[in-house]
Symmetry: D2
Subunit: 277 residues, 4 copies
């Protein structure tokens, strides 16, 4: 029995591209952190130290910067598609290229043409994969903190010898949402679609009568699939940001769902994909 190379990939992470467009009186900022991964036939490099098939990660970085100059960068998915297709088309050893982008939005200060603040609450992500079967686009929202102060219960769950949680028909529900959704093709108005998905997710979260975080997750994913035909499935990762009711009886006080302590560890994690069938 011998030893061989199994699955492998490599690339550049943390390429922080900022493109400033000052052609019009109202400037704009594009701010993307970009990760690139390549897969293909790199056996010779690993096994024999023969680098002829290896494109340096430094070249990947250079390609990002050059591409940002030769054409308008467009939306994150557009730029990811350009990059990923380039790597697969021009590097003989490469069969799969994946590009991830994390976009920080810069919002104009008032009406000022050239001054901005970052809005961390609308960070969005995109992942483009180009392989032998074509181009695949996933878009997302990351790190969006959301909180529901009513219409959230958790009761009638499985119990055993290690159960200590009391069932409740009224609890605080908070999470830091990471959502990713896949598209069926690549001819999409990406920004408009992402913005619509964000609104649908928030609305579904706000209006749901929740029996559990799982229950709300499915309602959120379903709402997206119902309203956005261009999307094939939705993945939601919802850590449960616990808010524990503080026991105030040692101080002679009641606590009718008013004073909570927010804890970071341990925390529940609920994760699922909602699909079309």
């Amino acid at each position: 029995m011998g030893i061989a190379l199994g699955a492998n990939r490599y690339g550049k992470s943390g390429v922080h591209l900022v493109v400033v467009d000052r052609d019009a009186p109202q400037h704009t900022i594009t701010d993307w952190q970009i990760d690139i991964r390549l897969e293909g036939d790199f056996d010779a490099a690993h096994i024999h130290g023969d680098n002829r098939a290896v494109v340096p990660t430094d070249t990947m970085r250079g390609t990002v910067f050059a591409f940002a100059r030769t054409q308008p960068v467009g939306q994150p998915e557009d730029f990811g598609l350009r990059l990923a297709r380039h790597f697969v088309a021009t590097i003989p050893s490469v069969t799969v290229a994946t590009v991830r982008l994390r976009a920080t939005p810069w919002v104009r200060i008032g009406e000022h043409p050239s001054a901005f603040t970052a809005d961390a609450s609308v960070v969005r992500t995109a992942e483009v994969r180009v392989d032998g079967e074509g181009s695949h686009v996933t878009a997302g929202i990351t790190d969006l903190r959301i909180f529901k102060t009513s219409d959230s219960a958790f009761a009638d769950f499985h119990t055993d010898d290690f159960t200590t949680l009391d069932p409740t028909d009224d609890r605080m529900m908070a999470t830091v949402m990471t959502a990713e959704w896949r598209y069926g093709d690549t001819d999409i108005e990406w920004d408009a679609s992402a913005s619509a998905v964000r609104d649908i997710l928030l609305s579904a979260f706000a209006t749901h009568d929740s029996a559990s975080l799982q229950h709300t997750l499915f309602a959120m994913g379903s709402a997206v699939l119902e309203q956005r035909p261009e999307i094939t499935d939705v993945h939601l990762l919802l850590p449960n940001a616990h808010h524990l009711l503080v026991d105030l009886t040692p101080y002679g006080l009641d606590n009718p769902n008013r004073v909570f302590v927010s804890t970071t560890e341990p925390y529940g994690v609920i994760e699922a994909t909602v699909v079309r069938d």
Copy 2:
């Protein structure tokens, strides 16, 4: 020559209080991370292991939660004053109490009465110090990312054998602002004042014709003092979030202030207090 106890203080950090007010149909969320520090005569505890003067940090935490129930919490500065005055007034060994609060704002989702998103771009801070001379309040804004794509230069600086930077009359200026300002008394509409200061700082940043980050810092601080008589001085901490023009000549391309790489290290830091004289 002997050994003695010098300056000392202790307390509880990271008390994450969340108060949900559901008395009105439109719910509200108060979300504060609180640090408490006490100073006073704790020689016996340190030197002899005699704890009779020491209030456990656990008690500080309990006081936060109990106080959040017995009265409306009000604005961060109000709650900080209540806590700090309580510790100085009721614990014989304590001569100085300092309470820091970091407030995360929760913004209603649309018109929904009980669903919220966090807006990390308007986190504000408050620090209350109560000592033998009275009560002192400092308020602040933290981690606000701002960017200016025009009207920023840096030239005519001191040069020596180790200078490599080229002077420029047109550069990108970006920073992650932390501002703190002190009040002359404690009878203030805290939230309204903080909101006004935020607007003044952003407006001054946006409209300034900048010869350096120092120059803009002073303009920002001055604008606050000119417009807000209740404030005695302003401290600004402005790390320089460098955006370096990428050299595209290896790819046969020019780069007329369009494609930048954002770097995290090393970074400049500019820090100053603007005062009344």
Copy 3:
């Protein structure tokens, strides 16, 4: 076309268990951060809000603490196996349980029986998965920073229009190693095996004449498989912690591979599994 629940899992993260054994005069500390994930039939919870199949994540936490009392915890893999088997065996809805552990080692201060320092350079991980096919154990080392000041080259690589990197036969090589390896069965002396793997990886890294980080990765993985028959494959994740030679010519100085700047972004990432065939 309808909407359905796809892949899903949930559990508790960040359960930080510390077990102190004081039965013998020489105390010992077990310090584990534990994540649990369960998979199974949770359709009713997601789709209908019916929680009868759902074990609360709070119960998972309780199970950890109770299990830590009822038997000696043993090595991380032992405890992970106990937990994962328990969840699959006792909860009807659960078909797969995965337990991840991150172990912080506490090293005795000198010969002292009850005082310790943490050694962050030997953190190790374990992941146990129990499913319908049996029990599967993966062990690992995480965040081990390693550096090679000779015998590292990178040349003769693929070039194109975006290449700027110069080939070199002498560069610094540094990485923050994360290694994970799988076992063929569960009757293993886990700590001894992990310790041996760590030594093999470090030795292979130290003595390799490297043509690239890929080349060294394969040598490291191969060495493990050659010397440890209990291991079926090895996954290595090696970010390239770049050390760039500083250009000192502006200061009239040469730099014969002596003065470097360590940069954090962007960074290369090399990742592969070395397998038996």
Copy 4:
């Protein structure tokens, strides 16, 4: 009443210098993260945008790299003194220069001459301040996690209406130590002194019969001053890494100081300077 510039300083942070010495067969690595701050007369820059007194932070970085080439770098304090004295001596506007260094130790892998692992448990710091009164050196240890499983009590403390903590004569004590100590002059074997201080602190922590973290802090600081005459005072910052005894009674189990949960928030912080008088 006018507006003026108050206290101010500026500089470069995060200059990550790595010097590799390959002159001898056994290579060595020096790995320092360096922050520089300058104070002086910068009124014209702030108020009028006149940069003639301002040395760019880019020049500070260049000075670090050039100095690393022109002489052996020596120990962190040596290099900090060289840098700080240079800035005060050669830049007319500068009256105070402060240099902070954080040194990551790289430990040889076995006997190998050119392969290393980082040992995060012995990170040390140095801060050099040069001003009109001379040169002042502070050295330190940072982020050293220590744990005591016996000889730690906390009882007989102050109680009031908000007390819930039970007194105990036997608890776990853990902290993440940051220590800094000042020297009376600059003619010191820095590495040897720091190494000795580290041993003294650990030994004092291990052997102390503790009535509180304050009590142990003072014992640790006193031990340093008693044994190291070159040191004038010691500052210790000791966050209390709480290990809470888990209540196992819901599972029908006792818990004789055996099973603990380690929590990160909230946490106590004890801080003091031990001085000579």
